[in-house]
Every structure is written in C-alpha cells, then in structure tokens.
Point group: C2
Chain length 186, copies 2
Amino acid sequence: MPPVAPRSGDAIFANVERVNAELFTLTYGAIVRQLLTDLEEVEEVNEQLDQMGYNIGIRLIDEFLAKSNVSRCNDFRETTDVIAKVGFKMFLGVIASVTNWDADGTCCSIVLEDNPLVDFVELPDNCQGLYYCNILSGVIRGALDMVSMKTEVTWLRDVLRGDDVFELQVKLLKHVPEEYPYKDDE
Amino acid sequence: MPPVAPRSGDAIFANVERVNAELFTLTYGAIVRQLLTDLEEVEEVNEQLDQMGYNIGIRLIDEFLAKSNVSRCNDFRETTDVIAKVGFKMFLGVIASVTNWDADGTCCSIVLEDNPLVDFVELPDNCQGLYYCNILSGVIRGALDMVSMKTEVTWLRDVLRGDDVFELQVKLLKHVPEEYPYKDDE
C-alpha cells in the first residue's frame, strides 16, 4: 500500500477556532520583549523561547492528531511533509515546503515564506544574535518528540536577519517506532 | 443625529487573518508560566501581564480602527459597547456584554462568558492571587488610552477563581476629547 498522502490543512484550518493573527503577533512580540528585559544574554532568550515552544509542541500534537485526521506517518520524510503542509496551515494559516533532503532521509529543511510571527518586527542592533522565531523550532521539536522522533531543529535562514525566507533544518537523531498490538490496515 | 450603532464583529472577524486559537492559548499559557518562574511574587506577574497588555492595546487600537470601520464614538458608554461587541469578537472571536452602569455613566462592567485564554487552564494552589487574564485588562486600558480615555480596569469576577463568568470593571478616570478641525458629518 502506498503511504497515505498528507491532506491539505485548508479545510482543517477553516473548522478550528481561531483568534486574530495580529493579536497573536503582538502577544508573541510582548513575550520576546519580556524575555529580553528579564534575561541578560540574547542566547538565553533563544533557549527560553525554544523551551517554551517545546512545552507548547508536546501539547499541540494532541490537537493536531485529533483534528487533522492524519493517518500514522510511516517515516520521517512523511512526517515532515505533514508538518509543513498540514501543521503550519492548521496552526499559523501558512504553508511551508520541505526541501534539501540528505541522502539517507534523516535531515531536511522546512522553508517558510510567510510567517505571521514577524509582522511589523524589526530587530534592533543589540539583538542581532536573537532567533526571534525560536519558539517555532521548539514546537516542532516537542511535537516530534511525542511521536518518538528525537530531533535537532536549527535555523539556517531568517528573514529578520536579511535572508529571503525562513529555513529550519530538522535533523532526525533517533526514531523509536512505537509497537502497536494491531495493524492499522486490519 | 442618533449615535452610530456599533456593528457586529462577525463580518470583520471573518475577514481578518487568524491563527489557531489553541496555539494562542498555549502560547499565552507559556508566557504566564515563564513570568511565574522569573518573578518572585504573583502580584508582580499580575503587573507584568497588565503592562504587556497595555503595550499590545496601544498598537491593537490601530488595527481595530482600520479594520472595523467603527465611527468615532461619542462617549464612554458607546465606546465600551463597541469594545465588548466588536472588539472582543474581532480579536478573540467571542462576544462580551456591558452591564452594571453607575448613575453618571463613568463606570461599567464588561462580562465575558467565553474566553479562549483559559481553555485547559487550572490555577495551582500557590497561584491563587494570580489574575491569569490580566493581559486583557491591560489591552483595554492601553487601547482606551489611545482614544484619550484614561481608565482603571479591575477584575471583579474570574472563572478561574470559581466565579461563573469573567467580569472586568472599567472606570473612566479622565476623558480629554480630541479637538478636530472639522466635523465628521460635514
């Protein structure tokens, strides 16, 4: 049987409860500003955002699985495809693409052209080391952790740093497939 | 001419960009948790949330005025009505009501039955002094400040504290009506 094709997130996005994107953007901006005030080093802010994202990701995966009706993914390649095409659409209303696969299928890039987190944002000179959207890498890492995929997620390109798109490298470190007492197809 | 009736926020809400409400809820939860970790006193967390809300409110008012096509409000009563019926719908997707007016029309309550900020939230015992949604009071205070209304916004009821609804008391302290060189009707 061929792998189940990931579904478009459009229909799902239309049917979930939503809030105004600008409110979300400004609220996220308020968090980042708060962390920049409270913590001394930009590097600590990056870590904190990543950790917050991780905590969100491990919960968001439940909503994702419940609402998306996505079938169990067979491998890492299929999983990242679902994240990019269904997950991003379902939660942020934007679509990402997956590219730059390595030869053994354990490392790829998720590329995002549009990103509501950064509307109206410009980094001041003293924040050049900041990964403003680091919460996203944490969310992905947390969500994947809950489906037994340990990953490392790193920013390769960032519009706020002058790049033309956002590019997140997702590297699979370890995959412990769950053992089911039954098969999906039976 | 009678005052312009505030419009329903439904049509506006349908036409603005939105993100998944659960992502917003979890992100907000992550802020509150972060502040509880970083700050010593719950009272400081309340203040910080209020201040973050204020900073959001002074920017959100622009989006509100640009997208809502609400005409200039004539008085405090009309303004609070617009906040409750259009503002809450436009940003959070819920409708609030205005009640408990005092005799001279400078103090009222905004009552909210549904509030996406608190989905899945329960306050642990050591956070009983927390006003979890204090960002909302700050947003209202900030937005009103930008239309020359200085207010004091206080929680009277809070579902997380065992009440049946959320009730925010909004008290007008000072109103400096702007002077226009022209009249709206001309």
